[in-house]
Symmetry: C2
Subunit: 334 residues, 2 copies
């Protein structure tokens, strides 16, 4: 049997905690033999949910914590003062090497700050980027960085490219992933100062399969496997993707429910449409890793449900088995 | 009768030139009495199209030019060397005050550079932004800047806010438009250095109705009327909007055409769906103005068809009648 992967899971974070979080943990240990989930949070709240399920003996453990960091709290202060919060306790399990990974649907800011302050960066990693996987017409792509470090420098972007490429190849299974830089035109001379300075560094980097510039228009088409970007632009791209998707789908639903005729029509296309839309459902692909830390830290959507939680837990297996952090150290010449 | 508005139109620019461009001109002069269109381009090519239509005597004029700037050409060089291109000749008509506006579906770069070099900035305008109107759940919003000036400074952003607010109110008819700054979180302390420096300037500006930060996720929801952003982020937002829309619609079309059942279903919802999607069709709202020039310069989509061309021409009326440039001078204290 392969080595056990220990995952600390924030049972208190996100809109659907603790119910959906714990359901996701139960699903994950049911699907894979080599995962143990450590649920971090309020003792009684977790107990009340856990007793609804049966699951393999000893593969779900409880770690008590009494505090919760709310989404609106200033992250640095929250991490420093709420020592018994589910996020701080969970991250400390990774720091102490008792767990391989920590997953949270809670405050993004606290997870990002706490990941750096508690788990710590791999020596030589300048800025650990947040790298969500997004669905595209051709499969999935990795957007790196999407919000961890605004005002990045070219040397950071080069590291994002290398780390993203490794994650995409060994965790997501895309061979020799095409790495492109987010730009406002296809030509090499296009872009802002950061992109113009980064471009030649990526072009001459032997560790990645560089595909040049990508315009935001071509992201959803799946024209690149890894998209390197500064966090502000990446965050705009990611949230625009989600926002436009939500609005278009809700408007189309409205159109389908407009009259008895359209309702009948909707009934006839429902199954086919559902299959198509499932491919564009970000929750199918698990959470976003914060790359370059001494351990794995994953941020799921705030509204994550059991499927996203379960998929995020299962992703931790490849991360450990493929020794992603050793590969990162090697490629960053650390 | 109101004063005649003279619009120079690049008959050679864009994927559908000259056919759709000229059709749009014919539509516009048919709809409004106070427009004269000056078609700039190859004499014979324009003649061949024009003879297909009847239109009010003297309301479409021809201005010959012999060169065309292609999309791939470096813009500055192209503007300097192709003196007899449709873009340069058209912009010169605005510079000479023979026309009030110039519209092109051709090279964005050449239109932006040419607008500044030939038509020139209003004295005091630091950087003229490109400000496309995008459809939202609640109507339309203006994204300013979307690609004219990368690496903007806070003082530029403040001008974008004022000019965008004026355009939205007096050309698009949105009373007291809500102006928000594109950001990666809703709180005032969020953002990159540029946003953090710009935010308080917008907050204390008496000339705009400032609504704080907007996340990209809320743009399509219509949460702001004017969205102020640096050109790189704005371009990413705009193109992500277009790209996600295209991919989702094409995938849904595929799902509807999958089987005889789904085809029947599609037939039943077609009309309702078309009406909904029409609201999200950017071509309904005309092209993107380049604000802050000594005249109006409008860039339409490269694939613009007659409707977008016609709508762009008609927008020039409000721009002139509402004396947008006088209002800009006043608000910028020029």
């Amino acid at each position: 049997m392969s080595e056990m992967v220990n995952v600390a899971l924030d049972a208190m974070g996100g809109d659907n905690a603790p119910g959906e979080i714990i359901a996701g943990a139960v699903d994950a240990v049911g699907k894979r033999d080599n995962i143990t989930v450590h649920l971090v949070g309020d003792h009684d709240a977790i107990q009340n949910e856990l007793k609804k399920y049966s699951y393999p003996e000893g593969r779900i453990k409880q770690v008590d914590s009494t505090e919760v960091i709310e989404t609106g709290e200033p992250p640095v202060m929250a991490i420093r003062t709420k020592k018994d919060s589910s996020i701080v306790v969970g991250l400390n399990l990774v720091r102490a090497k008792e767990c391989d990974a920590f997953i949270s649907a809670g405050s993004s800011g606290a997870v990002l700050v706490g990941g750096q302050l508690i788990v710590g960066r791999i020596r030589g990693v300048e800025r650990p980027p947040l790298a969500p996987v997004i669905p595209t017409k051709k499969g999935v792509s990795l957007l790196v960085d999407c919000g961890a470090n605004v005002d990045a420098r070219p040397s950071h972007m080069l590291q994002f490219a290398k780390m993203g490429s490794i994650y995409m190849e060994y965790v997501m299974g895309v061979k020799n992933p095409k790495v492109s830089i987010l730009n406002i035109g296809a030509e090499e001379e296009k872009g802002n100062a950061l992109v113009k300075e980064t471009y030649p560094m990526l072009k001459t980097c032997p560790d990645i399969n560089f595909g040049g510039s990508i315009e935001a228009r071509d992201i959803a088409e799946g024209e690149a496997d890894v998209i390197v970007c500064e966090a502000f632009a990446g965050n705009v791209a990611l949230k625009m993707y989600e926002g436009v998707g939500n609005v278009l789908l809700s408007e189309m639903k409205g159109a389908m429910m407009a009259t008895p005729f359209t309702k009948l029509g909707a009934l006839l296309i429902k199954k086919s449409l559902k299959e198509t839309l499932k491919r564009f459902d970000a929750t199918e692909y698990g959470g976003a890793p914060l790359l370059g830390l001494n351990g794995l830290v994953v941020k799921t959507h705030g509204n994550a449900k059991r499927k996203e939680v379960s998929n995020s837990i299962i992703q931790c297996i490849s991360f450990k088995e493929e020794k992603i952090n050793d590969r990162i150290k090697e490629k960053l010449d650390i």
